[in-house]
C-alpha cells in the first residue's frame, strides 16, 4: 500500500474544518498557534493549515491547504541527528517523539515548511490561557465541542518537533487504507486520500492521469501530496 493525499483546490472553501479536526485528533495546543491568512504549518505552528490567497484582477480568493508532503527523498530524515525521523513501509514520514531532541535541523531542511517546533515560551503562554477555559465559558451557550486527543505515540508533544502523520495511528496494520481526520471532516471533498497501489482507486487515478500534480516538482523530493487546480 502507498497512501496518497490529493487536495482539490477548486473545491476548498477555506472553512478550516480540517485544521480543527487535526487539532482535536492530535492534541495540538490551539492557543499556542499563530494563525494568519498566509502561512504554512511551520509559521502557524499547526500540523495542517489552509491559507487564503487573494488576487485583484479578477478579484478572487483561493484556499491553499498545506501539510507534510511525505517526500520520497526526505531532506528532514537525512539531517535528523538522532534518527528520530523515519519512514514507515507505506512511505509515511513520522517523528519518534522519544528520540527527537528538538534541534530544529529538520525544520531548516524542509523546503515546504511542513514542520514546526513548539517553542517553550509559547507553550507557557498557552498554558496560561487553556482551551478548557474557553469551553467552560461557552457552556452557557450550549457548550463547546471539545474532546481529548486520540492517544497515539505521534500525538503532539511540547518537547519534540511536530508534523502531519497522515493520521497513521488510524492504520490497523492490515494493509487496508485508513481515513485521516481532516479527510473525514472535509465538507466539500477537497481533501482526498487514496492508495497508489490500488488500480481501481479514483484518488490514485487523479495522480496517475496527471490531473493532480506535486506543488514543487522542481525540488525533486517527490512526495505523497498532490494538488488539483494549483
Amino acid at each position: 500500500m502507498r497512501p496518497v493525499f490529493v487536495i482539490d483546490i477548486n473545491k476548498c472553501v477555506g472553512c478550516r474544518s480540517c485544521v480543527a479536526a487535526c487539532i482535536q485528533e492530535h492534541g495540538q495546543v490551539f492557543t499556542a498557534a499563530k494563525p494568519a491568512n498566509r502561512g504554512k504549518p511551520q509559521t502557524v505552528k499547526l500540523r495542517t493549515w489552509v491559507e487564503w490567497r487573494e488576487s485583484e484582477d479578477p478579484p478572487a480568493r483561493r484556499f491553499m491547504s498545506s501539510l507534510c508532503y511525505h517526500c520520497e527523498d526526505t531532506p528532514c530524515q537525512r539531517v535528523c541527528p538522532t534518527g528520530a525521523t523515519y519512514k514507515t513501509p507505506e512511505g509515511v514520514v513520522l517523528v519518534d517523539k522519544d528520540l527527537c531532541i528538538g534541534c530544529g535541523y529538520c525544520i531548516i531542511a524542509c523546503p515546504y515548511g511542513s514542520r514546526y517546533r513548539p517553542e517553550p515560551h509559547e507553550w507557557r503562554e498557552a498554558e496560561e490561557k487553556p482551551l478548557v477555559k474557553e469551553a467552560e465559558a461557552g457552556a452557557a451557550y450550549g457548550g463547546v465541542l471539545f474532546k481529548p486527543p486520540v492517544p497515539n505515540k505521534w500525538a503532539f508533544r511540547v518537547d519534540a518537533v511536530d508534523k502531519c502523520t497522515f493520521c497513521y495511528h488510524r492504520y490497523k496494520g492490515d494493509g487496508k487504507l485508513w481515513t485521516p481526520a481532516c479527510v473525514e471532516v472535509c465538507p466539500t471533498g477537497s481533501r482526498l486520500f487514496g492508495d497508489l497501489d490500488d488500480p481501481s482507486d479514483p484518488v490514485a487515478e487523479l495522480v496517475r492521469s496527471g490531473v493532480a500534480k506535486l506543488a514543487r516538482p522542481d525540488l525533486k523530493t517527490g512526495g505523497r501530496v498532490y494538488y488539483v487546480g494549483l
Partner: protein, 277 residues
C-alpha cells in the same frame, strides 16, 4: 511565500562564533608549541576546551529536551545516530576537539604536568597537536557545511558558505591571538578577514541573481547594519593588520576581526529564508 528563518537565531550565531574562535586558536596553539612558546600554546589549547564546551552548552540550551544534551557528546557512539546528518559528524568533531585540546594542554599547565605524563614525549605532543589542529579546521568548516548541506534555505545552500566559515575561523582564531598582542598573527588576521569579507560580498551578489528566496535574503542582508558593519569591520581589520605591523595595530585588528565574524555570522543566519510553495 518567503519566510525568514527564526528557528536558528542569535544563540546559534554566538555558538558558531565561539567555535570559529576555537577552531583556529588551537591551530595557533600548536604552532606556538612548535616554536617553544608554551604559555601562548596553553592559552589556545585551553580555549580549545572551553569555547567548544560553551558552544555545546548553548546548543543544548536550544534543544526542546535539554536533559538529552548528553547525546551531543560524541554522537557517533549513539546507536541511533544518523550518519547522513552533518550534525552528528560536527558534534563528534567538536567533542574530539575538546578531548584533544585537553590532552594537548594539560601537560602545558603547571599543576597538571605531573599527571599528564604523555607531555614528556615530543612525538605524542606532535601527534596530539596535529590532530587537534585538523579537528579545529574541520570544526570551522562544519559551521558552514551544516548550513549549506540541504536545499531548504537557498541563501545557505551554496559552496561559498563553508568557505566563508573557514575564513571566518582563520580571522577569529588569529584575531584572538592578535588581541593578546601576538604580532605574528597579523598577516593571518588580514588574510582571514579580507577573504571572509570578499567571499561574503561575492555570496551576496550571487544570491541576488539566484532563486527568489536567496535574492530576498541577500537584499535583506545588504540593508542590514549587521552585514554591512561586518563586511566593513572585516575589511578594516584586514587593512589595519596588513599595514600596521606594530602591536597596537594587531590588537585592534584582532578585536575588529572577531566583531566582524560575529556580525557576518548573524546576518548569514538571521537572513536565511525559505520559499514555500
Amino acid at each position: 511565500m518567503i519566510v525568514r528563518n527564526q528557528v536558528w537565531g542569535l544563540p546559534i550565531a554566538v555558538e558558531m562564533t565561539l567555535l570559529a574562535v576555537a577552531s583556529f586558536a588551537v591551530v595557533w596553539a600548536y604552532i606556538f608549541w612548535r616554536r617553544g612558546d608554551v604559555k601562548a600554546a596553553a592559552v589556545g589549547g585551553a580555549l580549545g576546551v572551553v569555547l567548544p564546551a560553551a558552544a555545546l552548552g548553548i546548543l543544548a540550551s536550544e534543544l526542546l529536551k535539554p536533559p538529552t544534551a548528553g547525546i551531543l557528546v560524541l554522537p557517533l557512539l549513539n546507536p541511533h545516530a544518523n550518519l547522513s546528518s552533518w550534525m552528528v559528524w560536527g558534534a563528534s568533531g567538536i567533542s574530539l576537539l575538546i578531548l584533544l585540546s585537553l590532552l594537548f594542554t594539560a601537560p602545558l599547565i603547571k599543576p597538571f604536568d605531573k599527571i599528564a605524563v604523555w607531555g614528556r614525549d615530543r612525538r605524542v605532543m606532535n601527534a596530539l597537536g596535529l590532530l587537534m589542529s585538523a579537528f579545529g579546521v574541520f570544526v570551522a568548516l562544519y559551521t558552514g557545511l551544516v548550513l549549506a548541506y540541504e536545499r531548504g534555505i537557498p541563501f545557505w545552500h551554496s559552496a561559498a558558505v563553508p568557505l566563508l566559515a573557514l575564513f571566518m575561523g582563520v580571522a577569529a582564531g588569529s584575531g584572538l591571538y592578535g588581541l593578546l598582542g601576538r604580532v605574528e598573527t597579523g598577516k593571518w588576521i588580514a588574510l582571514g578577514s579580507g577573504l571572509a569579507a570578499l567571499i561574503y560580498l561575492i555570496h551576496l551578489y550571487l544570491s541576488l541573481i539566484g532563486p527568489a528566496a536567496a535574492a530576498f535574503s541577500a537584499q535583506g542582508a545588504m540593508s542590514d547594519p549587521a552585514a554591512l558593519g561586518g563586511v566593513a569591520l572585516a575589511l578594516a581589520a584586514a587593512a589595519v593588520a596588513m599595514f600596521g605591523r606594530k602591536r597596537p595595530s594587531v590588537v585592534a585588528a584582532g578585536a575588529l576581526a572577531i566583531v566582524a565574524v560575529i556580525l557576518i555570522r548573524m546576518s548569514l543566519l538571521l537572513w536565511g529564508a525559505w520559499d514555500f510553495p
